[in-house]
Amino acid sequence: MKNNKGFTLVEVIIAIAALGVICAVLLKLFVLAGDTNKHAGNMQEAQLAVTSVTEVLTSEDSMQEALDYLGLDAKDDIAGSYTLQKDSFTVGIDIMKKDGSYPGTLYSLDIRAHSGGNELAAISTARYVKEDAS
């Protein structure tokens, strides 16, 4: 005789609920992967923005020319804090003159990229410029 006995409603609901819980946990893996990818992408883009600004500051003939190239108004003695918008990041540039009596000027450069109040990338370096010597 054929057995036509099925599951009760409670059994079906429990099975669907259990499957739902397991699927929710597994789908969270995808959400986590998406968030991680987004963060990694932001970090790499911020690093690119900081590196490109640093390269301009360290490769132009003078600091004045570098700041002009970046579209920033240079302060009287170059040293100071500057801010510029690059892609979706706010890039902060701190230029300081290092102590020491040199024929030229030794600048310390601190470049940081922020997005939404979070610092995503930073580079600290220095540059010796003979042309800016007073």
């Binding site: 499957l19 397991i22 699927c23 597994l26 789908l27 893996l29 995808f30 986590l32 992967a33 998406g34 991680t36 990818n37 963060h39 990694a40 992408g41 970090m43 790499q44 690093q47 900081v50 590196t51 640093t54 360290t58 290092k98 020491g100 009596s101 040199y102 024929p103 030229g104 030794l106 310390s108 990338a121 930073a122 580079i123 600290s124 370096t125 220095a126 540059r127 010796y128 003979k130």
Partner: protein, 142 residues
């Protein structure tokens, strides 16, 4: 045996288990890729930090060498090459110098972790303002 093979009992359970396995495999693959991406970004950031730290040290060395060159030119010492070399040797980092005719080449390395920067400065022995880099490049490893 034939009854087992033709029975449809448990077919939906197998489908559900397969679905879960597929979800687990794809989920782990996606997460692994994302984490690799993040690690790559972090490595890139670490390399940049180390490279520009080495660059900062090299720029400091360049400034000190320039100062030593100016001191030598401003001194009453005879024999400009010797006067420059003696002042450069007093600096707090290793350098090597080479004189060809009227040109002096000054080489030095700076390191930040495994990232190094190799610099060579050229100077005309008749012009104290002629010091300039002729080689400024990354070194692969110690």
């Amino acid at each position: 045996m034939k009854r087992i093979l033709t029975s449809k009992k448990g077919a939906s359970s197998i489908l559900v288990v397969l679905l879960l396995v597929v979800l687990v495999v794809f989920g782990i693959a996606a997460l692994t890729t994302a984490l690799s991406n993040l690690r790559l970004g972090q490595k890139n950031a670490e390399w940049s930090t180390a490279y520009y730290t080495a660059e900062a040290q090299a720029q400091g060395c360049y400034a000190k060498i320039d100062q030593a060159v100016h001191d030598a030119f401003d001194s009453d010492d005879t024999g400009m090459a010797e006067a420059i070399v003696s002042r450069i040797e007093l600096l707090d980092f290793d350098t090597s110098t080479e004189v060809n005719d009227e040109t002096m080449l000054i080489s030095f390395d700076t390191w930040s972790g495994d990232i190094g920067l190799e610099a060579v400065l050229a100077l005309s022995l008749t012009d104290k303002d002629s010091l300039h880099p002729v080689k400024w490049q990354e070194k692969q490893s110690h």
